[in-house]
């Protein structure tokens, strides 16, 4: 077949970008496309894994609500054809908490960036995990604040360059799986967007498991983090993930630190059971209040 591509002469306005049968379009707000993400940005790949995970899960899409904060990753809520909340920066978890308390039958998914969830929103994260609120948190970790120009984040690896650390960051970054586990998450995994199949399976497991479930999705921000650190483009980043990934299910999360050019330990690290916030509350209040306990209407038949 010929190497050259015949440029189409269709006018992009009169022939809008539709492609009726791409199955992922069932999950997207096509009136919002094209999305804002740069060429080779890993966020879109993570979305593909997410939509396929829901598709093969036992969940009813009408019962799923997706909550994002602000950032390039925060746009996910606005692009997915689900009940979505695009909240304020760092506050996805407080919104999600309120939503879960008011409507426990809703499967609440928080989909946001590393800066949103662990810098401005870090406090909310530790408490949501500690309480074991029934929700799934999916974090796209691109090691910087993409949306605002690539500032250093609490996840930026030591000595990596960001717009605010032109000579390299000297801070120790969070090891997100270790943080999540220490705070009480019942399911913790890390994959990169190179590992599409494993990530899809892991998202499905996290969605179907009760309690606070967390997945770190390592992804390239080719425009800022990858370029500034002279790591090539998005494709080069995915190839480096392929090369550096060490798949180690059940790994000790204390040994899952990420450094520049070092191994990326991937896998499912934590999968335990403990009572969720809602079930714990109901059980305890029943015990201390007996007949005087009145369960909120929206909880009836949902919380045991």
């Amino acid at each position: 077949m010929s190497e050259s591509y015949e440029a189409t002469v269709t006018d992009p306005v009169s022939a809008p970008m539709t492609c009726d049968s791409n199955p992922v379009e069932d999950w997207l707000r096509m009136d919002r496309m094209p999305h804002i993400w740069c060429p080779g940005c890993g966020i879109g790949t993570s979305v593909n894994c997410f939509t396929r995970a829901i598709e093969e899960s036992s969940l009813d899409r009408k019962n799923i609500a997706i909550v994002s904060g602000i950032g390039c990753t925060g746009r996910v809520a606005g692009y997915l054809l689900l009940d979505s909340f695009h909240t304020t920066h760092g506050r996805a978890l407080p919104f999600a908490t309120g939503l879960k308390l008011a409507s426990p039958k809703t499967k609440v998914v928080v989909y946001s960036g590393d800066g949103d969830l662990f810098a401005i929103g870090g406090n909310h994260f530790i408490h949501a995990a500690r309480r074991n609120l029934d929700m799934t948190v999916l974090c796209v970790n691109n090691f910087n604040y993409g949306m605002t120009g690539g500032q250093v984040a609490p996840t930026t690896p030591e000595f990596a360059i960001a717009s605010t650390t032109p000579y390299g960051s000297v801070e120790r970054p969070f090891n997100l799986p270790y943080l999540a586990q220490s705070c009480g998450a019942v399911y913790v995994a890390r994959w990169t967007v190179y590992h599409v199949k494993q990530l899809q399976r892991s998202i499905r497991e996290a969605l179907e498991k009760p309690g606070f479930t967390f997945i770190e999705m390592v992804a390239p921000c080719p425009t800022l983090f990858v370029r500034r650190n002279r790591l090539g483009d998005g494709l080069a980043a995915l190839e480096s993930y392929e090369e550096n990934a060490v798949i180690k299910n059940g790994a000790d999360t204390r040994e899952c630190d990420l450094g520049m050019g070092g191994p990326i330990v991937c896998g499912k690290f934590v999968d335990i059971d403990r009572p969720s916030y809602l079930s714990n509350q109901v059980a305890h209040l029943r015990k201390v209040l007996g007949d005087r306990y009145v369960m909120p209407d929206a909880w009836q038949g949902v919380v045991e």
Binding site: Y5, A7, M17, N22, P23, G40, G44, E55, L235
Partner: protein
């Protein structure tokens, strides 16, 4: 009678791939990670100025949709022949 290999008609491809070239941003994920090397990046441009993938070896496509999973711009997908996109019978 035992048929020799030569007399067997070439197998029909197991799947096919659909590219929406105008939506593509030329990242190259699909071509790089297609397990059977079906795709190549074009030297030509789409209207936005990106190099989209071309189907270089259609016969090798299994319709596995790995290209669709990788594509950050939702611009490509694979289908198993005789199946609906995303799975399911026709």
């Amino acid at each position: 009678m035992v048929e020799t290999k030569k007399s067997v008609a070439p197998k029909a491809p197991k799947g096919h791939v659909v590219v929406n070239t105008e939506r593509c941003k030329g990242c190259g994920f699909c071509a790089q990670f297609c397990p059977t090397g079906v795709l190549a990046m074009s030297k030509g441009f789409n209207l936005k100025g990106y190099h989209p993938p071309i189907v270089a070896d259609a016969a090798k496509c299994s319709g596995c949709d790995l290209c669709g999973m990788y594509c950050p711009d939702f611009a490509i997908y694979g289908v198993k022949n005789g199946r609906k996109p995303g799975g399911g019978d026709l």
